[in-house]
Amino acid sequence: MRGNALRWVGYGVALAAVVFAVVLASRFGTDPSLVDSPLLGQPAPGFDLTPLEGGDPVSLDDLEGDIVVINFFASWCLECRNEHQALISTADAFADEEVTFVSISYQESPPASLQYLETEGKSEVTHYLADPGSRTAIAYGVFGIPETFFIDDEGIVVGKIIGESDAFTLGATIDAIERGESPGQSVTGNTQQSPDG
């Protein structure tokens, strides 16, 4: 009698263990950095950052009413180099509209980022900013770069591109925001977490 009861308890425990293992296994291979940003649909985190070349700080409040495109970059990021010209040309293309591009240096000293921009070129209408202590990168939940955030004219995060973007994608995303749409998050390629990888 007692042996049967214990046997059934044993079966129950074994079944629970199998279910438990299946649940765990189903999560393997999921890249946590690709989860939807919790910032989507939320007010964009504010910032008040000094330009890489010095001068007056630029804050998100200063850009109120504009669509703001925030790109995190570094000279050590290959994907950032690949998308650099697309960011410049798109920023220039939307210069006459209420669209502002902000490029924030990620995990790099200002001199290194400035050297990179001098070599690769800059957009005259883009704010290139330093992020001491990575406070803004942390506020935006950056896992790796490039990551590009889109903020609508009411200050809400409505889009995010993870990985290298191109002029078509950037332009189409801004067009959608101008129509009042929320493009959401898309993954266009790999990101780099550090100079080593």
Binding site: A16, F20, V23, P32, S109, P111, S134, G141
Partner: protein
């Protein structure tokens, strides 16, 4: 074992566990402990399965600095974690959230304990039935139950005490803890935590300066800047410490942001404290030459530096080369 002895064993076990838990709860962790504890809950977003407290990456260091600042500002542990969750989602937690698919991770141990407890209770209520396996054939259920409870109590005490001792052997909590140590052997994370927890301590400037120098040496100006600034503005800093901080700030202003006027002003502040500072005088000359094109002023400063008796042979060679170049009208290096 008699009933009385079994009861005493169980009571002693439970009492020991209760005392341990009360001791742990009553112990108020310091800010450094809190920073470390929170850091160990947060996954470094640019690493593979490491906490920000244990990762050497600069991003993890920045996040630890944010946590440290939040603790210093009086934020609760939950508020700090919630702030990071608002940016990164639950993917940044090393402990899985108690919801969704990961709920099973939390429920499984409870279910296992509950099952074990049910088995013990069931055994105790059926003491006279024949045993089937080896253990039950040699040990009556009345004897096994209290022993299992006692063993379980001891296991909990060992585990809890282990966690407690691990926390006690964590990072140093005060400036005095590191006073006798060679700072070369202290990690930057520890130094950051100690500096953050002892911002008003009169002896903290030395550690701040050592930490800033580390960042400076690897070109991490953004991390070095706040520490140099704090030393430069500290009422407790020695003259030598203030001069070093001002000279570094001046050089970073020029080298990092091409702010010639700011750099020269900072070098002048350093020279006002120590008019014999050859480093401040040399760098001021270099910035005047390279940043402002003031060749004559630079020449004069380089000559003054070379007149200083304490200059090392290597430094002397460098300054002589710069002096020759500026006199020849060469562009600055």
């Amino acid at each position: 074992m008699s009933d009385r002895a079994r009861n005493i064993a169980v009571i002693v076990g439970m009492a020991a566990m209760a005392i341990t838990l009360v001791f742990l709860v009553a112990t108020n962790p310091s800010d450094v402990d809190r920073v470390q504890a929170i850091g160990e809950r947060i996954k470094c977003p640019v690493c593979q399965g490491e906490s920000i407290a244990n990762s050497p990456s600069s991003m993890a260091r920045d996040m630890m600095s944010l946590v440290s600042d939040s603790v210093a500002l009086g934020a609760s542990d939950d508020e700090i974690v919630e702030e990071l969750l608002a940016s990164y989602s639950g993917a940044v937690l090393l402990d899985p959230p108690v919801s969704g698919a990961t709920l099973a991770l939390w429920l499984a141990p409870i279910a296992a304990l509950g099952t074990g407890a049910l088995i013990i209770v069931w055994w105790r209520r059926h003491p006279g039935e024949p045993a089937e396996d080896t253990v039950r054939s040699t040990t009556s259920s009345r004897r096994l139950g209290p022993l299992l409870i006692l063993g379980f109590s001891l296991a909990v005490i060992v585990v809890v005490a282990g966690f407690f001792l691990q926390d006690r052997s964590g990072p140093a909590t005060g400036v005095a803890d590191l006073a006798g140590q060679d700072l070369e052997d202290v990690s930057e994370e520890t130094m950051e935590a100690v500096v953050a927890a002892n911002a008003d301590h009169p002896q903290v400037d030395g550690m701040r300066l050592a930490l800033a120098e580390r960042y400076y040496d690897i070109g991490d100006y953004s991390s070095a800047f706040p520490h140099y600034l704090a030393v430069a503005e500290s009422a407790n800093a020695t003259g030598a410490q203030a001069v070093t901080a001002l000279v570094r700030l001046g050089w970073m202003a020029w080298d990092g942001n091409a702010e010639t006027e700011t750099a020269i002003e900072l070098f002048d502040q350093a020279l006002a404290i120590d008019s014999a500072s050859t480093t401040a005088r040399y760098l001021k000359g270099l910035v005047l030459w390279c940043g402002a094109g003031e060749v004559d002023a630079a020449t004069g400063l380089f000559e003054e530096v070379l007149a200083a008796a304490e200059l090392s042979p290597e430094a002397r060679t460098n300054v002589e080369a710069d002096l020759a170049a500026v006199r020849d009208g060469d562009t600055c290096p």
